[in-house]
Symmetry: C2
Amino acid sequence: MAETFDKKKTIDLRHKYIGPSCKVFFGQDPIKIVRAKGQYMYDERGERYLDCINNVAHVGHCHPDVVKAGAMQMEILNTNSRFLHDNLVEYAQRLQATLPDSLSVCYFVNSGSEANDLALRLAWQYTGHKGIITLDHAYHGHVSSLIDISPYKFHQMTGNVLKAPSPDIYRGKHREDHPDAATAYSDEVENIIQDAHKKGQKIAAFIAESLQSCGGQVIPPQGYFQKVAQHVRTAGGIFIADEIQVGFGRAGTHFWAFQLQGKDFVPDIVTMGKPIGNGHPMACVITTRKIAEAFMSSGMEYFNTFGGNPVSCAIGLAVLDVIEKEALQSNAARVGRYLAELLRQQKEKHPLIGDVRGVGLFVGAELVKDRSKRTPATAEAQDVIYKLKEHRILLSADGPDRNVLKFKPPMCFSEENAKFAVDRIDEILTGIFSCSGCQIPSPSDARPGLWQHSRLHWTAAT
Amino acid sequence: MAETFDKKKTIDLRHKYIGPSCKVFFGQDPIKIVRAKGQYMYDERGERYLDCINNVAHVGHCHPDVVKAGAMQMEILNTNSRFLHDNLVEYAQRLQATLPDSLSVCYFVNSGSEANDLALRLAWQYTGHKGIITLDHAYHGHVSSLIDISPYKFHQMTGNVLKAPSPDIYRGKHREDHPDAATAYSDEVENIIQDAHKKGQKIAAFIAESLQSCGGQVIPPQGYFQKVAQHVRTAGGIFIADEIQVGFGRAGTHFWAFQLQGKDFVPDIVTMGKPIGNGHPMACVITTRKIAEAFMSSGMEYFNTFGGNPVSCAIGLAVLDVIEKEALQSNAARVGRYLAELLRQQKEKHPLIGDVRGVGLFVGAELVKDRSKRTPATAEAQDVIYKLKEHRILLSADGPDRNVLKFKPPMCFSEENAKFAVDRIDEILTGIFSCSGCQIPSPSDARPGLWQHSRLHWTAAT
């Protein structure tokens, strides 16, 4: 597609008309993307980028089956769920079939933020309590109720929000050498509950991403959710599993990431979003019949203008079909294992890589300046990201210290893609390492233009 | 399109899998709609319904230009706004051009609820105050922050929410015989501000729909918004105009309903939603540079995963094009005037119609049992709605007493459509009127099947 404006004009118009709080990737030199296919994005000059970050384009950018399903339904009918429609009930039935039986009642909404906000409303209504326990560094969405429970965004907690330590066994309070980190971290939650009770506060819910994403690709120790759920339920609260970033097969071995904890763990509410419609604005909350009925007993109708419309449901169904037809969940397991293995080999080679962790196509490599102190290598992570961009690879760095290289590519990501990306990381780390004590460009940075550019960013970033 | 399930199965699955708080229209006998075109919807038996209520399908259900724009962009690229894209900036520029110059900074989101929640966040951050003044019977959305400011849904006000009387000159505190209702109603707001100040509360914002919709199709007296804005701004607060239901030319004479108040009124924030994408989940907040910069100064990024994606923007642009190309705003003015005139003729004939009010294709007819006491004819309004359904006309009754027949059809609604709907209302009201003192069916209800069915609903409703 031709451009409407040249890139400079696009940037000027963006400065003029778009809220300055809305950031672009690579702020110093943002990318203009005009088309995308599968795991590739293309800029206005036709340059191809390997996409390692867009977990929303779950089954691959512009998947023809998904596009066709959406386009066909748009032609026929797109209206609200106050009218009966088969897509709505068929989709609800299909989604339910991926979950334990008790999670059977669906609410369709437009975004992960709407989903998590509704989850809070369900919890408040069902329990009659107000307190919400959230994890440190959590991000659950941008509406005001969720900013309150998102320490990643906002460190000023309101009275009804209680913050538990992130179950991060690399950088957290209890680490990989702890004999029982799951119990240690769940005891922290229990202590918070006891303190709250002493102050007369009552717990409505514990909310956590099944795998903490913005918080730094954290994989909670197995059994942690079971123990937390027991403490929270004893206090009359419920367990909300936020699968917005990590659901729909990304974990590889399981369709939902909470299932990694074991069959004996079932949340009371599951929220899903981002990948659910491969980019189409839609999301969902699924809960138990008991909670749904308590919510109804308030007498307040829940109406969501766009939620569960026939187009969104057709798209959601197509996404489920493609995941199955193209065996994307097992692809995530296989390629994710290979990617983590390649990164672990890099860890042997480069002291800057302090930890490699992940499940399926949700993989993080945490960069540290010093392995024993685990000092976050924030500037270095930024530098790697910018240099990868020069190699036409899109990766991001996240976590509380922004030092975790974060892989969450479209699920059609291949072993070749993984090898290509990690090879470039190897070259870049070799370059950084070889030049940190000297001023001589490494062989991989020998191309003069690139070197110059990279140096600029390196300078800017440090 | 063939059905996947028969209607009974659809209903059963809905009961099983969809949250019971999500209501259907005509709960006793819901409608299954399988396709729609323009101002018509079709059920599974091919029966055609005239749509008088779906303001979301703004330029007509499944408008081919909108469908094509969406489908084409879906094929090429659908990603987030952290990448530069021309659709985003072009659309922002086009939307801005419909507004006063000072309203120049856009935030794209997924729903009216997200838009109003963000408007509150902007107001809180810009003013540093917490108090929100909302109108009685207002509805601003379903996320938790908005339930708090929506007396239509929830009568339990939280501490920072202050409720002003709805500027309803038919049923409100100050009526059509008041010499200066605009000042009287704005003085109410001023009093609330003074009371708040006495309690140490500070005002962040006044929020109102430019025309109150769920609140009963209320048209505020001219000059009211100017006076309110002055009081609110003097208190350090801002004015949020909620155009989610009523914007995009529906008012007929003006593109935005707040413009009905006069050129000397400019809100600080405008929120838009429902019709913006003809059913596609999207919405927008537009504010001043000053407010946008104050929001940015918090240092918190605002990222909305789906908001402002290239597909939504392509669809938004197509909607603006169709409104212009098909002169839908002037159609709304002409047909709306004709519709209101027809309803006023009915008011002469039927004492049940207490008031007819409206601008453009936003028209309400308020039913009363007694014109002097203005006793709401709630059951009668429900009966009219159910009987119209038998005539294959979709209309709803809303307002605090659910006694206001509410027209907000797709903008391609024609004079013939208006005549057809009002003629059926005439027949129905004649039927109700003639049989309220006797048991003899009126001529218009002579078809036996219909009569029988209507009686059933009449009985059920009263």
